[in-house]
């Protein structure tokens, strides 16, 4: 009978159709997955391109401002330049005219992620009012980033009845940590 020739061919066609359906679904699924990947990568590339443009602009700005940056850098004390700064500071104290001396010196730990730390200095001295104020003005006019955190001026009379002023000041100077 004729139907006997249809049966195996029909079965084969059903299996083939099912296989083709599976293949089509697989291709669609793979395409969807690839499309997502391509879209995500495209977004990342756009972001990276925008960032690169920003970095190029930033680099140009940094190059253009290198003189100002250099000027700013000179106001910070490099970490390995602390002893030299202390020498210079003591020289400034002795040139102020008052009997001033450097007391304690300490270096704060930098804040997390920061490249700047504070050098703490304590200064004390005595002199006339003018000498005391000259000392304070001298400290405040230093070219480095020195800040007086506290200042105390106390008057007293010496044995000869002359009025003198005791000065004590806590100062803070910004120090640049070493760059890796």
């Amino acid at each position: 009978m004729k139907s006997s020739s249809y049966k195996p061919l029909g079965t084969l066609l059903v299996v083939l159709a099912f296989g083709l359906l599976c293949a089509w679904i697989f291709i669609l699924w793979q395409s969807a997955s690839l499309r997502t990947k391509v879209e995500e990568a495209s977004a990342q590339i756009s972001e990276a391109a925008a960032k690169e443009t920003y970095l190029i602009t930033l680099k140009k700005a940094l190059i253009d401002a290198r003189e100002s940056v250099g000027e700013l850098d000179r106001r910070f004390v490099p970490e390995d330049g602390v002893p030299a700064f202390i020498d210079m500071f003591e020289a400034r104290l002795s040139s102020s005219g008052s009997k001033a001396a450097l007391g304690t010196v300490s270096l704060d730990d930098p804040a997390e992620g920061s490249h700047i730390r504070s050098l703490r200095l304590r200064v004390s001295g005595t002199g006339t009012w003018n000498e005391a104020m000259a000392l304070v003005s001298s400290l405040e006019s230093m070219e480095s980033l020195l800040s007086i955190r506290s200042l105390s001026l106390v008057s007293s009379e010496n044995d000869s009845g002359k009025k003198t002023w005791g000065v004590s000041a806590d100062l803070s100077q910004y120090v640049l940590t070493k760059q890796e």
């Binding site: 004729k2 059903v14 159709a17 690839l34 930033l58 304070v136 020195l146 200042l151």
Partner: protein, 172 residues
Amino acid sequence: MKTFLTEQYAKAVAREYRGRLVFVASALSCIAFLAAIAFALPTYFLLRAKADAISTPASYPDSLSNVESSAALLKEKISAAETVADEERMAAIVEKILVRAVDGISVTNISLRRDTGASAISLAGVADTREDLVAFQKSLESEPLFSKVVLPVSALAKGKDVHFSFSIDSDF
């Protein structure tokens, strides 16, 4: 409708019909799925090629890799420099206090403490008279730099040779 076929032959014809129907449906399905695959494959290969092309991670040239950290450091330096530049000089503050010390006021002790948002001054001395002290207090209160000037009331008890101590809040 009347049929002349035997029951057994009728079943065989029906089975044959269903077999042919399945055969034709399967053949048409195969053609449809093959066509669908043929249409889907170019898109698939195109996407695959794109995905392969952009899978390399983006990296910056060496000349740019340090720019961001340099800019962050510069920002930190500028912020620190601005903090110091914006500070009122202590010598100037002392001058502002003493310029207001009228005749009859003798300042013996000045302390200034600079803190973020809460700087303070303490001032001690001797006034010849209570009126001189009150005038000095009013003069200090008129200084825009000082937000609050406090003189303990007990300092006004004496009329002459008045020892005083001011607490001044400021933002320097």
